[in-house]
Symmetry: C2
Subunit: 209 residues, 2 copies
């Protein structure tokens, strides 16, 4: 129980729900789903796949198929993997509140139930409120030499957090009003905070860095 990769492991298991995939494709999907949250390289993906294999959460088949073609390795989720993913996404501990942790949990919200979603959203919100309190009380207590740029950075950072809290509030309300249909992929209700499913971004997000 070596406390594996966390975010990457989570994402891989989540994405493999879409169906069997080979490593290359998995990485693309992963970076597409996580968007600007996170990007991974093969240097972390392949070792991760190895570990997931060893744990029995995924299995690999070789895509032999056409004779003339090179055979590629296709990974698929096992029953144990599905189970493990469920236990990961249902977990409402601190890892579901951190920046990255919350992001992946949210990205796969469709794979869990409404009650869990609500717990995680509320956990995240109170986490952010703690942060805001810390900043604000520090603001009230101390007044120290800080140049205007540092100040501006902190002001902007605080606003970002406030904005996320407002977003969470909307999501929580939507989640509550649609909570009759537990486990449904899309919560019920007409005027929800969730955008209508229409054109969608899928391919890899440019990470020129």
């Amino acid at each position: 129980m070596t406390k594996r990769s966390g975010v990457l492991e989570f994402a891989v298991l989540g994405i493999l729900h879409e169906g069997p995939m080979h490593g290359y494709e998995l990485r693309k999907r992963c970076n597409a789903v996580l968007g600007s949250l996170r990007a991974f390289s093969y240097g972390s993906l392949y070792p991760c796949l190895k570990q997931l294999l060893a744990a029995g959460w995924i299995a690999k088949d070789t895509d032999a198929a056409v004779p003339g073609k090179r055979s590629r390795i296709v990974y698929r989720l096992t029953a144990e993997g599905k189970e493990h993913f469920q236990s990961l996404i249902t977990e409402t501990g601190p890892s579901a509140w951190e920046d990255d942790g919350f992001g992946v949990h949210f990205a796969f919200f469709g794979r869990t139930d409404a009650a869990t979603r609500l717990r995680i959203l509320e956990g995240r919100r109170s986490r952010l409120e703690e942060r805001m309190d810390g900043v604000r009380s520090a603001l009230a207590r101390t007044r120290e030499r800080v140049d205007s740029y540092t100040l501006e950075l902190q002001r902007h950072g605080l606003e970002s957090v406030e904005r996320e809290v407002r977003w969470l509030n909307e999501l929580i309300e939507t989640e509550r009003s649609g909570s009759t249909a537990a486990g449904s992929d899309v919560p019920a209700g007409g005027a929800t905070a969730l955008a209508p499913v229409a054109p969608v971004m899928t391919t890899e997000i440019t990470r020129t860095s």
Copy 2:
């Protein structure tokens, strides 16, 4: 030239401009200045200080002083360290455009000249615009199965980037209008985008994670 820590090194050198400090104090100031951007532990700070000493960028004196008291170690910036910091902050390469890199650069904007500030702000902006283009063109091209939560996450992510771009636009304009007073800590002008320097947050931001 082992390509030292980057952000932490940068922050330590920047903060030591405020005056000599011992490690404990430095960490607090560091986490206060960087705010929600980043937090560091002693496990990275002390080794970093060691490396900076070896490089000759900082020096340590023992705060002997009062006889009855325990003597603490006080670090101060050397002339070489000051010089090195200037070369780091003036650098307008990609490291000044990444999320973390930009943040630290911005936090110490007061220590560089208006021209450099402008270059970095514009570099950051075009970096973010690239990202947005990537997302939007992907959005136009592909329409794939993505549940509404993933979509919502991406929409929110995109809005965050758009918001930062607007912020950068304001800063760039302020910087341009105040650019007559090069090298000044606070740009000239009455109605600037920079908040009035008043109560300021200084103490450590709660990182309960």
